[in-house]
Symmetry: C2
Subunit: 349 residues, 2 copies
Amino acid sequence: MNIDLSLLTALRRAGSEAVSGAELAQNLGITRAAIWARVEALRALGYEITASPHGGYRLIRAPDRLHADDLLSRLGPTRVVGRTLQVFQKTTSTNDVIERMARDGVPEGAVVFAESQTRGRGRLGRGWSSPPGQGLWFSVLLRPELRPLEATQLTVAAATASARAIRDFTGLPVGVKWPNDLLLRNHKVAGILTELSAEPDRIRYLVLGIGVNVNQGASDFPADLRPRAISLRQALSASAPGGERRRRAAVAGGERPAAARPLDRSALAVLLLRELDRDYARILSGRFEAVAEEWAAFCTTLGRAVTIAIGPRLVRGRAESLDRDGALLVRTEHGLLERISGGDVRMDT
Amino acid sequence: MNIDLSLLTALRRAGSEAVSGAELAQNLGITRAAIWARVEALRALGYEITASPHGGYRLIRAPDRLHADDLLSRLGPTRVVGRTLQVFQKTTSTNDVIERMARDGVPEGAVVFAESQTRGRGRLGRGWSSPPGQGLWFSVLLRPELRPLEATQLTVAAATASARAIRDFTGLPVGVKWPNDLLLRNHKVAGILTELSAEPDRIRYLVLGIGVNVNQGASDFPADLRPRAISLRQALSASAPGGERRRRAAVAGGERPAAARPLDRSALAVLLLRELDRDYARILSGRFEAVAEEWAAFCTTLGRAVTIAIGPRLVRGRAESLDRDGALLVRTEHGLLERISGGDVRMDT
């Protein structure tokens, strides 16, 4: 365990209590002067840490920036997800970084966050807007012993875990649109991109890329996304008592609606990793059905009339259920049950 | 078209006729002195090219080494496979090279050969012995609009195309063992490794890696492979009139069996690429069934009692047919038809 990680873990564990420099120095096996130097370094990163000659150190507030050691200190032990964790200030796409790591033989569970992505990816070769410091853009390396056909199980697990984390974090009723979108107030708040490297009969590695819009205001989204995208902060602001009324009044008056205060991205990140770890364990132990049941409770697609574009082909029908590999079963107009493993879903009713 | 490619194409087209330096210079748009310099360079690579003051240049023999321009000059136009072609003297694995090219956005059809591979790969994470200059170790980049589930179609197409090429090249009765081995005299003469990068519902790119044992003698194979592997040259030597008898006599006398002369690897390479191009076109136009029918005629697995190891699980039964995605349908002891998309097949009868 490195020193920042140990130090932050000790300070967090103490909560509102102070921890003496002597105690920290002894537990970490370094001098009190070294403790002081690390505290100074953390302060430079924006950590608010008070120090009193007799009381000791206290962590008052962490900055709104992702810090690998801090995330690990808050995450605590997990089975797989978060075995290692890195934070990049900027990268092309966290999926790219994880892919490189996968090819270098890094074990599963590695997690990479980026404060911003220059080429964030969505499904089907589309882009994903990832402005600096306003969301959570991260990827997880998994090496499940599954066939490529079963990869959709992991998308479903990631959607379920993310929905649970976002619901628990915000208290808002989040919905899942099959296969990979999370919705709040019918707008896209998060997306999941599953990419895999495989032989025809076995997955070599799989990368779960997750993007969550956390603190963006309307003007932070590219113009073409504004009608369809939302951040957690926007959704919370609109849901606050009087929020919707305030928002409308503000818009009518030409003002920007009062925004809720920025959300703690690190806290949400930790929650997301923990829930992912839990659902990955369920998949590995063959309990996909339990995950799928929970997924179905979040799902806004099932039971609806849908039109699904699969390349040039359109399938129309009623979304009935998931099969055991996570594919969507659609009862078409002709009464046939069609198995859909991907495509663009539009809900018609 | 570059100069070596144009020059070799012109010399090959002329066959046993000589082509004058003046004619070559005019057609290639360079001086006669420059033609002379390129001829010298090709001679340095081992090309036997005669020149007479009045008759002109004639290609007598090409060296036993792969040369990208020469391969392209012999290949001629194709639909997809061989749009670009590179030859490495040594690389880790041609699949690695193609994968890097794929991630850099290189279009499909790119082909990479290596005279030797330091980390040649077989299926399921196994190795593939690729000694310098004795076989064909190459990979092809494809970007089919297919789902990962359908990737096995490409393995079947590659096996069918390779079997046809080897049969036409050697006249020997080559067999295909599902899903990816080519057999001569019940020994492995070639293998196919299909690797893909995908989202759960679409292939982003697919790499066909093909290895053919061409000119190895028994001592060129690692000891553990000797009982199971064979080269085309060995197989031809044993099949020559009296070959088997000669071989036995030689072994009994403690001598090495008389080897057939080395085969022209470039000629076989061109044949393989042409046949691959043909079967890839059939897959893209939805004619997998035609490919599968031809595959079935080569197949030594169908109709046999088999045991298939899929991870820790064993499936026993009779291999009945392929389904429309290229998976093997096995009638188990309990009368059920099981769909097998991968695994280790052992033929029991």
